[in-house]
Structures are given as structure tokens and as C-alpha cells.
């Protein structure tokens, strides 16, 4: 052991003569990170990415990104003698000829799904707790960009084997590109090297998938992590936690062991799942042939909401002279994803403008304390959920014996009706929780102990909540909505940009108008005083009746 420590010490001192290694270690080795299960979601995403790079490199050793047609002569009997692309044949070889090849392929695909899922849940955690607020807006933008890149990256990887299922997906993408007004046809011909499917797409997609996208991702992940390090991690409110400190455990040794160990846990679990659960059995689908398709074709789940949108859209098309605008494809396939992308990336700035909040925030919001934001998040989940369901409407229709036409109509109407309802319900729910917090702070929690007074009245004993709980509730900031702007200043000159300011004040009222005020220290003291008075009186009554006074009464 001492040999390892000595040698490491020597190596560091050699390096130190060339770079300030010790200064770097000194600044970061004992860096404090707060502990919470929800902080692991981003870690799962990071580790999945590392697993993807590792397994991806192995796959490139055997995969041949070529659409050249060959006749299969491998060991998978049902496909022997069938015409297929080299890409598909080499995927079969990885699955059937290479020892451990199938395992690596399945780890890669599972890790991609976990990557996507972890990113989405991580983003919702960031969203609901307001972790994107100043000074972390840029990290939100980077994270949201990575989410979009991974969406494309996942779709690219899924398409590379050139099997029947993914080939249909590529055909759909080609159709969406064709629907872009003015440039669509040209774009499609440039992407595919001519008409669909052409001969170039897989090899072009391959470079995109193994070089360009991972390179960009790697750079963005680097910046993402550096910013997390520099800003120091946010923390949940609690006793001993303030906006200017960070409470937790040191990087070395606790998080080296915990986070390092967690990488192995994620990798190990992914590997075990890859051993036990088949994913993307391309040998069952057959090679891509443009005139074949299987019923119940589904994209990987993370693309499902886009497909659901495409399915729900009414068949609108406009012909102007000799030109066609395919609203039925362009709106759900290009415009809506574009709008969603912008809304996602810009949310921190939109909220910042409405609230006018320019302070630094390192204590996370409890979702209930920001009812509008929480409501928006819940409405987005509802919106997304409906589209995912519609993306699988054929399978759902068959499984549950429903009419597919009715399912599509449910989506067409539900997409406008359900999210606002969910927003409203979540908003009310949050306000209710705020009221309960206030109650608990002023009158304690309901202990469940019921006492009968000598004159016959039943009372439930309320007990004060712990200091830790008080610290959590009191961390809520009371924020007043922005006042409505005056129409003119004192000299009667019209306020510049009045409309924008009015909109902002109105939105600010929406954000904070229904806020339940956190009790002031005076109110808390008053409530405690009041409680004592009442109980003194009751205690006196109990004593005069010769009864035992419960010891836990305040």
C-alpha cells in the first residue's frame, strides 16, 4: 500500500514541476457535494454515455457501414441466401459470429435508452426545482442542446443496421424532409445522394453517429461538468443550509467511492439487462426493402412523441399554383419540434424575464412553492404522454380492442384540453400544499392523539414540527408580483414599451399572485402564544377535574 502511495506521490511531484497539479488537487480534492438521490439522475446519463462510447468503439470494429447489396451466407439459417446490405449483414455477424458481440450490441442499445431516459428525468428534476436559475442558465442551455443531439444520435444509431423496422423510420424522415417548403426536395436529394433510399445514406449517417455527434456531445459534457464544478452543486433547503454555503461530503474520498461505484453499478446493471432482455432483434425484422413493412411498426420510445404528432395531424395540404405545402407533415414534423426546441432552450430566460429575478440561487425550490412552473412542467408531461400514447395507437387499439379512429380523435382534442387541465390541477395542488405548510408551521402537525376534555369536547393534539422541517418550509421566499406599470410618468410622458411591461406584470401576477405567504416570525410567535393560552386553559380544566395532564401537551 505504502508503495502505491509513495509512487503516486513521486509521480505527482514530477508532474508538479511541469504543471500546477498540486494546486489543482488542493482546490478540488475536498470539494463538497450535497447528497440527494435526485442528483444521481445526471450521473446515470453521464455514465450511460461513457458505456456507449466504450461499447460503440467495439461495434465499429465489426460493423460495415455500407449499403452495397450482398447475399447472406452466415450462421443465422432463416436469412441464408437473402439479399441484404452489408450494414445489415455485419450487424447479423456481430450478433451471431462474434463472441460477446450480441452482448456488446445489446449493452449499447440498452445504454442508449437509459441515457435518453436519464436525461429526460434529470431535466425534469432541474426544471421542477428551479436549478436552471441564475447562475446556471447556460448549463440548462447546454443540457437542453445535448438532449436534442442525443435524440438525433439515438435515431441515427437505431437506423444504422438497415433492418426493415429502422428503414421504415428513415423512409418517414425522408418524407418529412420532402415536406419542407421550397428546399425540401433538394435537401432530401442531398441527404440521400439522390432518390430514396439511394446508396449513400448509411455511410453518411455512420460518420454522423460515430464522429460528429459524439464529438460535439463530449465537448458539451466537458463544459457542463466544468460549470457544475465551478458553480458548486445546488442543494435542497434544510437546517444548516443557506444560499451561500454548500453542505455535504467531500469529493475525496466519499464521492470518488460513491460516484465511481455508481458508474460500476450503472454499467453492471446495463450489462445484466443486456444479458437477460433481448433488445432490437434485427434478425427477426429482416433487411430493409422499400416495399415491405410490418404492422405495429414503432420507433424507439423517445421518438414516439414525434411519431404521435405525425399520426394525430389532420390531412391539411395547400396547393398554390404548381407548388404544394404539406401542412400535415411540415407542422408536426418540422415546425412543432422547432417550437418545442426553442421553448425548451429559452425557458430559463422566459421565466427570468417574467419574475424579474436577478439574484443567484443555490438553494433549490420545492416544486410546490412555484405553482406555475410546476404546473407548466406537469402540463408538458401530459402533452408528451398523450403524444407517446398516440405514437403507439395501433398497438394500443389492438391490445385494448379500441377504435383507432377514436384514439386519434382523443389525441386531436386531448392535446389541447388535457394539458391546461393538468396545469390547473397541479397549480391548485401546489397552493394546497403551501397552505398545509403554513398550517404546520403555525399550529404544528396533527399528532393523531385525541384527548377528551372533562366538559366533553374532543381535541386533537397538535405537536410542533421539528427544526429541520421548519427550516425546509421557511426557505420559501415570499415574492410579490411586479406592480402594473404606470401609463405615464409624473410629467405625463407615456411609459416606453408599455405593452411589454403590462404583459410582464400580468404574467408576474400569474406566477406569484396566488402565492401563500410564509408566516413572519411575528406570526409564528403569535401562534405559539395563542396555542399556549388555549392549552393553559384546558390544562387548568383537566387539573381541576383531577385528571392526568398528558406530558406532551405544550
Amino acid at each position: 500500500m505504502s508503495i502505491i502511495v509513495n509512487e503516486a506521490g513521486k509521480a505527482i511531484s514530477r508532474a508538479d514541476q511541469r504543471m500546477p497539479i498540486s494546486s489543482l488537487l488542493k482546490a478540488n480534492m475536498r470539494k463538497i457535494f450535497p447528497d440527494h438521490w435526485s442528483f444521481m439522475l445526471g450521473e446515470i446519463a453521464l455514465y450511460s454515455f461513457i458505456i456507449l462510447m466504450l461499447t460503440g468503439v467495439y461495434l465499429t470494429v465489426w460493423f460495415k457501414p455500407s449499403m452495397a447489396e450482398i447475399i447472406y451466407a452466415g450462421s443465422y439459417e432463416p436469412l441464408v441466401g437473402i439479399h441484404m446490405s452489408e450494414a445489415y449483414a455485419s450487424t447479423l455477424d456481430i450478433s451471431f459470429e462474434v463472441r460477446g458481440g450480441l452482448l456488446i450490441r445489446q449493452i449499447h442499445h440498452w445504454a442508449a435508452l437509459f441515457f435518453m431516459a436519464a436525461m429526460i428525468v434529470h431535466m425534469f428534476r432541474i426544471f421542477f426545482t428551479g436549478a436552471f436559475r441564475k447562475p446556471r442558465e447556460l448549463n440548462w442551455v447546454i443540457g437542453a442542446s445535448m438532449f436534442l443531439i442525443v435524440l438525433l444520435e439515438g435515431f441515427a444509431g437505431y437506423s444504422l443496421p438497415d433492418d426493415l423496422l429502422s428503414g421504415v423510420g428513415v423512409r418517414i424522415v425522408a418524407g418529412i424532409v420532402e415536406a419542407i417548403p421550397v428546399v425540401g426536395t433538394y435537401l432530401m436529394f442531398f441527404i440521400f445522394g439522390g432518390e430514396f433510399p439511394g446508396n449513400d445514406f448509411i455511410s453518411r449517417l455512420y460518420t454522423f453517429h460515430v464522429l460528429l455527434m459524439p464529438g460535439i456531445l463530449l465537448a458539451l459534457i466537458g463544459i457542463h461538468l466544468v460549470l457544475i464544478f465551478y458553480h458548486k452543486h445546488t442543494q435542497y433547503p434544510g437546517a444548516g443550509r443557506t444560499n451561500t454555503n454548500v453542505v455535504g461530503y467531500p469529493l475525496f474520498p466519499v464521492y470518488v467511492a460513491k460516484a465511481g461505484g455508481f458508474f460500476f453499478v450503472v454499467f453492471g446493471v446495463t450489462t445484466l439487462i443486456a444479458a437477460l432482455v433481448t433488445i432490437n432483434p434485427v434478425w427477426n425484422y429482416g433487411p430493409y426493402v422499400p416495399d415491405q413493412v410490418t404492422a405495429g411498426s414503432q420507433p424507439d420510445w423517445y421518438i414516439g412523441f414525434l411519431d404521435g404528432m405525425l399520426r394525430a395531424m389532420p390531412n391539411w395540404e395547400t396547393v398554390i399554383g404548381s407548388y404544394t405545402i404539406s401542412w400535415n407533415i411540415f407542422l408536426p414534423g418540422v415546425v412543432m419540434p422547432g417550437i418545442l426546441t426553442f421553448a425548451l432552450i429559452l425557458y430559463p430566460f422566459i421565466e427570468g424575464w417574467i419574475t424579474g429575478d436577478e439574484r443567484e440561487h443555490h438553494i433549490l425550490d420545492r416544486p410546490r412553492n412555484r405553482p406555475v412552473r410546476t404546473g407548466i412542467g406537469a402540463a408538458v408531461i401530459a402533452f408528451y404522454g398523450i403524444l407517446v400514447i398516440n405514437g403507439a395507437n395501433d398497438v394500443i387499439a389492438i391490445t385494448f380492442n379500441l377504435s383507432i379512429n377514436q384514439l386519434i380523435w382523443f389525441t386531436r382534442i386531448g392535446i389541447f384540453v388535457v394539458p391546461p387541465l393538468v396545469f390547473w390541477a397541479t397549480h391548485r395542488f401546489c397552493i394546497g400544499l403551501q397552505r398545509r405548510d403554513r398550517e404546520k408551521l403555525l399550529h404544528g402537525y396533527e399528532s393523531g392523539e385525541v384527548l377528551r376534555l372533562p366538559h366533553g369536547e374532543f381535541i386533537e393534539i397538535h405537536k410542533p414540527i421539528s427544526d429541520e422541517e421548519k427550516a425546509v418550509i421557511l426557505a420559501k421566499e415570499a415574492i410579490a408580483p411586479l406592480p402594473a406599470p404606470p401609463e405615464t410618468d409624473e410629467n405625463g410622458v407615456a411609459t416606453p414599451g408599455l405593452r411589454g411591461k403590462r404583459l410582464r406584470a400580468r404574467l408576474s401576477r400569474l406566477y406569484f399572485g396566488d402565492d401563500v405567504a410564509t408566516p413572519t416570525p411575528a406570526e409564528i410567535a403569535e401562534a405559539e402564544h395563542h396555542a399556549h393560552e388555549l392549552h393553559d386553559h384546558e390544562v387548568a380544566e383537566l387539573e381541576s377535574a383531577g385528571k392526568d395532564v398528558p406530558a406532551n401537551l405544550p
Binding site: R171, N199, L272
Partner: protein, 343 residues
């Protein structure tokens, strides 16, 4: 500077005291009981040792189990034994390192919470001033501001030089031209069954059947071109219904595109191009499996439901001298998804 809440940002201090202090640290049994600590140590070491054993197990499986050996696992079906064993040993070996390390951290490493102060994130005022001064000095030394002609010619050159890199992209693909408007169907091209390549006579098709078909010679063209492009457009479906069930088809005045109740429609969906062959015999509806566009083949292939905007193009057919089904001509409109120039 103050924010909308009226708090003066300059007075938001570092090191503010929390309302309630950090709760005192509660020692774990491993902190107080040496036996518990030793037990935890054994548990950690056991996990690491098991991991090593499983790695050895991985190599045994790698060398002993052939890659194509399958195993029947009752209700779970047939499995690749190699994948199963390699995955279980490797996955277990990796997982145990992780669980061991986390157990170690949770039981044996200090779990006393430490408080660290946050540092101000921005640059100090004097650094900002110094940086601005340096920038101004540099700018003045470069003459970028005064020497207009240098500045403007540089900006012009910088704006132009990326254009060649856009030009390079031009040869990614050919111009569309009219290629999306034609398929390989011609007058007299025989219709053959998709898989077998057999030419079809009307009597081969019974009323109520739907057959996927393609033009004769498609395989040769595909071989020659080295792509599946021709197939992606030329695929058709043939459907036969009794002539009185056909309410309308796309034949113009004075022409007959159907032959004795046999209709030929493109197989490529007009929405985003999925091939369609889900046919409901009773209603003559054709349903796309991708996005559920529904077409009525007894009524000119019109859209009855779903996101597709255009009816399925019909291929005019007849029979040749030998009695085989042939095309009268190419499709008279583009097949597949709409595009800007389609009109």
C-alpha cells in the same frame, strides 16, 4: 444595482447564518462498534472478491461455450447461452465493484457533513476594469477602430471564405429534376408477383384478394443501378373486387384503367411513404401501418381517414396479347409523399 424585489444586490452577503443550525452528526454503528466495522469491511471485501471470481467465470464461458449454442429455458424460450453467461458474469463482476465501493463509502468512510462557503462567482471589479483597459490598449494598438479599409476588407473576406465550403456540399446529390414524377412502369410492362416474379393473368386473382406486385425486370434494373430506388417507387398492389363494388376509379373520361374489377394502386403511402398492404376486404379500406392513413380502394383510392392528404395514385392496367396483366402507361401523377414542386 438592485433587482425587482428591491434587494440591493451589493448587500447580499456571503456567510449569512442559517435560521436553524445543522443537526448534530449521529454516529453509525460502524463508527461506535469495532465489530460492526469489521463486519462491514468483510462485506465489502467479499463483494470485490466475488467480482474477481466472476471475471474468471467470464473467461471460462468465453472459451467453453460456442457462440452459436442455444439453450431452452422453459417458458422463457430459447436463449443464446453464450450471451447469457458472458453477460451474467461480466455484469455481475462490474456491478459488485460498484456495490462494494458504495457499501465501503456508506459504512466505513466518514459521514459527517461538512459545510463549505460558496465563493463569489463573478470577477472582482478591479479585474474587470483591468481587462477592459487591456482590451482597449490592444484595440488601440491594432488600429482596428481607425483603419476602416483594413477592417472592412477583412470582414468582407471573412464573410466570403465559408462559401466554398457550402459549394462543396453541392455534389452530395443530384438535382431532383423530374425524377420524382416517373417510375419504371411503361406501356406494356408486365405486372409480376412481388416475391416469386411470376407474371399474372386476371384469372390468377380471385375477387377479394390483394397482391403485392412490381414491374417485370425490376430485379435487373436494381442490380444495374445498385440501389433500391426503382422499387421504392414502382411497387403496387393489385386488388380484385366484383365490378359492381367499384364506386369509382381514377380513369379519365373515355379510358378504362381497371381490368375486369382488377385495380392497381401504388403501394407507397402519399403521407410519408410507408408501403401499405393492410387491406380490409369488406370495406375495401387500405390502412397504412405507420400513421393510419386510410384509403378507400373502391372509391378511387380516396383518403377516408388519417394524416394523408392525397389519394393513392392508380396505375392504368390492361392485358397483353398473351393475356398477362400489363401497365397501360406509367403513373400519371407522382407516387409517394408530397413535395414542394409537386403542384
Amino acid at each position: 444595482m438592485s433587482d425587482s424585489q428591491g434587494k440591493d444586490l451589493a448587500t447580499v452577503e456571503h456567510g449569512e447564518a442559517p435560521l436553524y443550525p445543522l443537526p448534530p452528526h449521529r454516529p453509525r454503528t460502524t463508527d461506535t462498534d469495532p465489530r460492526a466495522a469489521r463486519r462491514a469491511q468483510r462485506q465489502v471485501a467479499t463483494q470485490f472478491a466475488l467480482s474477481a471470481v466472476l471475471t474468471v467465470g467470464f473467461f471460462v464461458a468465453y472459451w467453453v461455450v460456442p457462440v452459436d449454442q442455444t439453450v431452452e429455458l422453459g417458458p422463457f424460450g430459447v436463449w443464446s447461452l453464450s450471451n447469457l453467461l458472458l453477460g451474467l458474469t461480466l455484469g455481475g463482476a462490474i456491478l459488485l465493484i460498484g456495490t462494494g465501493a458504495i457499501h465501503w463509502a456508506k459504512k466505513l468512510m466518514s459521514d459527517e457533513e461538512i459545510v463549505d462557503e460558496r465563493h463569489p462567482l463573478g470577477s472582482p471589479e478591479e479585474d474587470r476594469a483591468a481587462a477592459k483597459e487591456m482590451f482597449d490598449t490592444g484595440l488601440a494598438e491594432s488600429g482596428f477602430a481607425e483603419r476602416k479599409i483594413v477592417r472592412r476588407s477583412l470582414i468582407g473576406a471573412l464573410l466570403l471564405f465559408p462559401l466554398p465550403f457550402i459549394a462543396f456540399l453541392r455534389d452530395m446529390g443530384p438535382m431532383p429534376g423530374t425524377s420524382l414524377r416517373n417510375t419504371i412502369w411503361k406501356k406494356g410492362t408486365r405486372i409480376v408477383v412481388d416475391v416469386s416474379g411470376q407474371p399474372l393473368r386476371p384469372e390468377d386473382l380471385q375477387v377479394g384478394t390483394l397482391v403485392s406486385a412490381s414491374p417485370e425486370g425490376l430485379d435487373e434494373i436494381q442490380e444495374e443501378e445498385g440501389t433500391q430506388n426503382a422499387r421504392a417507387k414502382a411497387s403496387i398492389i393489385l386488388v380484385r373486387m366484383s365490378p359492381d363494388e367499384i364506386r369509382s376509379d381514377q380513369s379519365p373520361e373515355g379510358e378504362t384503367w381497371a381490368y375486369e374489377g382488377i385495380l392497381a394502386y401504388s403501394k407507397i403511402c402519399t403521407h410519408v411513404g410507408c408501403p401499405i398492404a393492410l387491406y380490409q376486404r369488406r370495406t375495401h379500406h387500405l390502412l397504412c401501418p405507420c400513421h393510419q392513413s386510410t384509403f378507400d380502394l373502391a372509391d378511387s383510392g380516396n383518403v377516408v381517414f388519417g394524416p394523408a392528404a392525397r389519394r393513392m395514385p392508380q396505375l392504368p392496367i390492361t392485358v397483353d396479347d398473351e393475356g398477362y396483366l400489363v401497365a397501360q402507361s406509367d403513373f400519371t401523377q407522382p407516387v409517394g409523399p408530397s413535395f414542394w414542386e409537386r403542384g
